[in-house]
């Protein structure tokens, strides 16, 4: 008990930075449109991301209609199909998942969870959203140009991405795609710098790094990774834009197209693949790490138990982030690279399974003997663990060169990455929205609609992607616009139809979710400041929803970590982080 004194804030250092005045807006436009409040920016980010995500959802419906019932929908030509897969992939990975996790949850939760009044540079933060919106608009514009959007596949591999045989390749489609990505990266960098500096330099008194909720750790690490990984995509986009517009040959070898020799020559398409995946693999974890962090908090709160192995959870996040920069070429086993490269990248890939497995064990051990409340956030969190474990297992297949080569470019790969980075993070996003909606609006989401949404989404996602593994194992390739019965066996054709119906149903359930979001805004049950009785700071704000500046007159002081649930001897089953409370030391110094 050496460190415990009778004064509650003994041992908490004095404030190092004086409280800074925030620029309070005086006009309607300044308050709601060009808002510099991170919470509004978060809602703007999330709203835009969900809107463009709906476009991605409709595109997936169209693809599944074509695959499940080939030859029936005349308007889905092969060109249109390629455009659908390309835009679906890009929208979902970049413009929905990255934007909503970092721009949405990052903006909303970081200042609240670390006890700051706002992001450190609210103006730059606002610019970040508006450039993101511009990127989205440029992307949407590509649907309306002659030739339509690019159909190069979401990886945009050259040389086909900018040749006339690919939809949008010689039109404006690919140009708008590349410009949109460049804008997205510029906008993201502005926001990302804010998130990192806020976590590093703007925490409140007592909020040490090792007392931060894992949500903040996940978003923080993902943002750092994004700041180092997006440059590769940025450079690749600039170079391909030059190849397309100026006739340079960075990625373009000598080519004959329709009997005509093109003016390109001497470039290497493989360099693009390296650049793309140097971004693309960390991108997987940029999406996954915030999900890891959020799900840790959801499980701990709704199982009324401290997170198991907090310190290991933090280190696992950091180690996964670091390792993910040296595994990128496992996406390129069939690109003809040297076998020793494959050996190296397979090894590093499998090593990532170690910290990831630590996290999964710790989630399960947190649930172990917990007081599990099967609330909607908890249901989604448990669904995430199961789905992520499933997707991770097929990752072990694909991480090994010899197993990957025959499975390459089959539906098995599609099923794998949809499980692990499509369904799993989306489940966390839903869980997080059910969890934090009461703080954002002051009202609970409707439980009945939520239950229907959860069960249809969870079971439906498995109905889609479990059979898809089998479809891939029997050899059905991905990216084929028409797979009719003469090409595959009847059972596989039946499975394809089944998957398509399931996809339509799951998509429809999301409309119910969106309705719930709007309906509960008015009609939801009043939530009160802390409906889940959670410890972390965002639930301790004086106002719900929090006002600009978050904390009223004084910033909170933090005395403990974010996981003091069911502490023996405590009067309640949780002790808030800013509660000096009983003298129970639960600090984690390392």
């Amino acid at each position: 008990m050496a460190n415990v004194s009778d004064r509650p804030d003994a041992g908490i250092p004095p404030a190092e930075v004086p409280d800074l005045p925030l620029p309070h807006p005086h006009t309607w436009w300044g308050r709601y449109v060009f808002s510099q409040d991170a919470k509004y920016i978060a809602i703007q980010y999330s709203g835009t991301a969900i809107a463009i995500g709906l476009v991605g959802l409709v595109l997936s419906w169209l693809m599944r209609l074509q695959l499940g019932f080939p030859g029936i929908f005349d308007f889905i030509t092969p060109e249109a199909y390629y455009q659908f897969i390309t835009m679906h992939g890009m929208i979902m990975v970049i413009y929905l998942l990255t934007a909503i996790f970092l721009g949405g949850f990052g903006n909303y939760l970081i200042p609240l969870m670390v006890g700051a009044r706002d992001m450190v540079f609210p103006f730059v933060n606002m610019l970040s959203y508006w450039i993101y919106l511009l990127a989205v608009l440029v992307l949407v514009a590509s649907f309306f140009v002659p030739g339509g959007p690019t159909g190069a596949g979401w990886t945009l591999y050259p040389p086909q991405a900018i040749l006339s045989g690919t939809p949008g390749g010689q039109g404006a489609g690919i140009i708008l795609m590349l410009v949109s990505l460049i804008l997205f990266i510029i906008g993201f960098t502005m926001g990302g710098l804010n998130y990192v500096v806020t976590v590093l330099q703007a925490r409140t008194r007592g909020m040490t790094l090792m007392r931060m909720p894992l949500t903040v750790w996940g978003i923080f690490t993902a943002t750092v990774m994004a700041l180092l990984a997006f440059p590769a995509l940025f450079v690749a986009c600039v170079m391909m834009l030059f190849d397309r517009l100026l006739g340079t040959s960075f990625f373009m070898p000598a080519l004959v197209e329709l009997g005509e020799t093109l003016s390109y020559g001497g470039g290497s398409p493989i360099v693009f693949q390296h650049l793309f995946w140097f971004f693309g693999h960390p991108e997987v974890y940029i999406v996954a790490l915030p999900a890891f962090g959020i799900v840790s908090d959801l499980i701990s709160v709704h199982a009324r138990k401290n997170i198991f192995g907090y310190r290991m959870m933090v280190w696992a996040i950091v180690i996964i982030g670091a390792l993910s920069f040296i595994v990128w070429a496992h996406h390129m086993y069939v690109s003809g690279m040297h076998p020793y490269f494959g050996f190296f990248f397979a090894t590093t890939t499998l090593i990532i399974a170690v910290p990831t497995a630590i996290k999964v064990y710790n989630w399960v051990l947190t649930l172990w003997k917990g007081d599990i409340h099967l609330t909607l956030p908890m249901l989604f969190a448990i669904a995430f663990i199961v789905t992520f474990a499933n997707g991770g297992l097929t990752g072990l297949f694909l991480g090994n060169v010899v197993v990957d080569v025959p499975l390459s470019d089959t539906m098995f790969v599609v099923a794998h990455f949809h499980m692990v980075m499509g369904v799993a993070p989306i489940l966390v996003i839903f869980g997080a929205i059910y969890h934090w909606y009461p703080k954002m609006t002051g009202r609970m989401l409707n439980e009945a609609m939520g239950q229907i949404h959860f069960w249809v989404t969870f079971i439906g996602a498995y109905a889609i992607f479990f059979p898809m593994h089998y479809v891939g194992l029997v050899g059905v390739p991905r990216r084929y616009p028409e797979i009719d019965a003469s090409f595959i066996t009847t059972p596989v054709a039946g499975l394809n139809a089944f998957i398509s119906v399931a996809a339509l149903v799951v998509g429809a359930a999301q409309v119910l979710f969106l309705f719930n979001l709007l309906w509960s805004l008015r009609a939801g049950r009043a939530a009160g400041p802390n409906p889940w009785r959670a410890c972390s700071l965002e639930w301790q704000t004086p106002d719900t929803p929090p006002v600009h500046g978050n904390w009223g007159k004084d910033l909170p002081v933090v005395y403990r970590w974010a996981y003091d649930y069911s502490v023996p001897g405590a009067p309640e089953d949780f002790i808030a982080q800013n509660d000096p409370g009983p003298r129970i030391e639960k600090d984690v110094p390392l």
Binding site: P13, Q201, L227, P231, T248, F250, G265, G266, F278, L590
Partner: protein, 239 residues
């Protein structure tokens, strides 16, 4: 709780060794003590930008080492014909000299800013901006000379087409950085000149209060752009 006592050392003070290092880093409020938000943000941005330039240079190296055509000889391509003799790299040498000098005036501006010498700071920043603009001007001259000799992004008279492509892309990207730097140098210099950092007046657009540290943060960016040029010089002109 016995555990906590062990970690905190005999006097209940700070832990020692590696644990002390980590606990210092993880201490509350600020990881980097006495580093302002703006400065931290610039450092992290520069780290990200380092990746951008590194990837540009690595892509250039991979193109250069994998091309089957001959790579144009830099000391001939970048020579100027002055007074009847071909002087290899003479323009680049002058450009490099100018840019390095501008780092010198920038450092002096930062020094003056710490002493709150309003006039000197502003004048030295304007001098830095002028040197930067001179650099960009000479780069424009170099570009137009090469273009008049037939160098294009898609080809050139002497060999590998990637020469022109890489040259225009990398020097262009660096030149853009210098140009943006010149613009912001002038903006900050104007604010210094008007005395905004003495009176605490807010900027018209983002309503930031700002102080003389803005000069130093501007200097970080400027020295970074300068440093990047050294690498471009080494890898493009000397290799």
């Amino acid at each position: 709780m016995a555990d906590a006592r062990v970690r905190h050392g005999p006097q209940g003070g700070r832990p020692e060794g590696l644990e002390g290092f980590v606990s210092d880093w993880g201490s509350d409020q600020r990881t980097f003590k006495k580093v302002s938000w703006g400065k931290a943000m610039m450092w992290i941005f520069l780290l990200s930008d380092t990746f951008v330039f590194s990837i540009f240079l690595v892509s250039y190296m991979s193109a250069r080492s994998s091309t089957v055509d001959a790579w144009p000889n830099a000391s001939e391509v970048f020579a100027l014909h002055i007074g009847g003799a071909d002087l290899p790299l003479i323009l680049i040498a002058i450009m490099t000299f100018v840019l390095i000098s501008s780092s010198g005036t920038m450092a002096m501006a930062v020094n003056c800013a710490y002493r709150k010498q309003r006039r000197n700071t502003a004048l030295l920043m304007i001098a830095t901006a002028a040197l930067g603009a001179t650099f960009v001007g000479m780069q424009a001259f170099e570009w137009s000379k090469l273009i008049s000799e037939g160098v294009r992004p898609w080809g050139n008279p002497w060999g590998a087409a990637q020469f022109g492509a890489s040259f225009f892309m990398i020097t262009g990207f660096h030149g853009t950085h210098v140009s943006i730097g010149v613009i912001f140098l002038l903006i900050v210099a104007a604010r210094v000149w008007k005395g905004d950092f003495d009176s605490g007046r807010r900027s018209w657009l983002c309503r930031e209060k700002g102080d003389y540290e803005a000069v130093e943060i501007m200097g970080l960016y400027w020295h970074f752009v300068d440093l990047v040029w050294v690498f471009i010089f080494a890898f493009f002109y000397l290799w």
